[in-house]
């Protein structure tokens, strides 16, 4: 299990390949990657991500440990960036390894649902005219109910 909270970019290919390579006895690998959208009609200059050093790592570790307990996982990986990101940069990724695809998929969805609403990150969208904090969505909170 690895948790990384970092301001530097990560390489999705390298991370995923290394994660898969470390789990040769696991037949199923699922990854999720979040990307800063680059919308032609919506001129986002940057996304700033604030976090709560110390609590962030603890919360992500707790979420990943819960996933390892609830599903038959060989491993889990969570990487989340903070600081200033520009459109098309990768914000975060999770990866899960299991013998069964159902466990790998469900655990990755669980990680994402909890990470969205329970890990102390706050996003702000910077445009030419404004710098607005992203509002939490009711559907993200609702997503937790299924677990």
């Amino acid at each position: 299990m690895r948790i990384s909270v970092q301001d530097t970019p990560f390489d999705l290919g390298t991370e995923t390949t290394n994660f898969a390579a470390g789990h040769r006895d696991m037949g199923a690998i699922v990854t999720f990657t979040g990307v800063v959208r680059d919308l032609p009609d919506d001129p986002l200059e940057a996304m700033e991500i604030e976090h709560y050093p110390g609590m962030t790592e603890a919360a992500l570790t707790d979420i990943a440990e819960q996933a390892m307990t609830r599903w038959s996982l060989g491993d889990a990986l969570v990487i989340h960036r903070h600081g200033r990101l520009v459109p098309s940069e990768m914000i975060m990724m999770v990866a899960t390894a299991s013998r069964h695809r159902k466990d790998a998929f469900e655990a990755a969805e669980f990680l994402m649902d909890y990470l969205k609403s329970r890990a102390p990150f706050w996003k702000r969208e910077i445009t030419a005219k404004s710098a607005d904090w992203v509002a939490a969505r009711a559907e993200d909170e609702d997503a937790l109910k299924r677990w």
């Binding site: 989340h80 996003k123 904090w133």
Partner: protein
């Protein structure tokens, strides 16, 4: 006790953290004390449904006791991922 503020809570109060001497028994009592201080606190804490609290880096609720606590943090609902 250290009190931390994040995102727009930090912006409204104007500082990211401060040391506070308090005998408040719970988070809710602490909020009552802070709101009485200055308008900027009143502005930050006016709508508790828009706020979340962590005590010693664990998410909790406003009834949480403060005895022995070193760090309280106030922030809006999280928007990671």
């Amino acid at each position: 006790m250290d009190v931390l503020y994040f995102a727009w809570v930090r912006e409204r109060i104007g500082i990211p953290r401060e040391a506070i001497e308090t005998s408040a028994a719970t988070v809710a009592d602490l909020i009552t004390e802070l709101r009485a201080r200055e308008d900027r606190y009143e502005a930050a804490f006016s709508d508790l449904t828009a706020l979340r609290v962590a005590v010693d880096q664990k998410l909790t609720d406003f009834d949480a006791p403060l005895k022995g606590v070193r760090e309280v943090a106030f922030f809006p609902p999280m928007t990671g991922g």
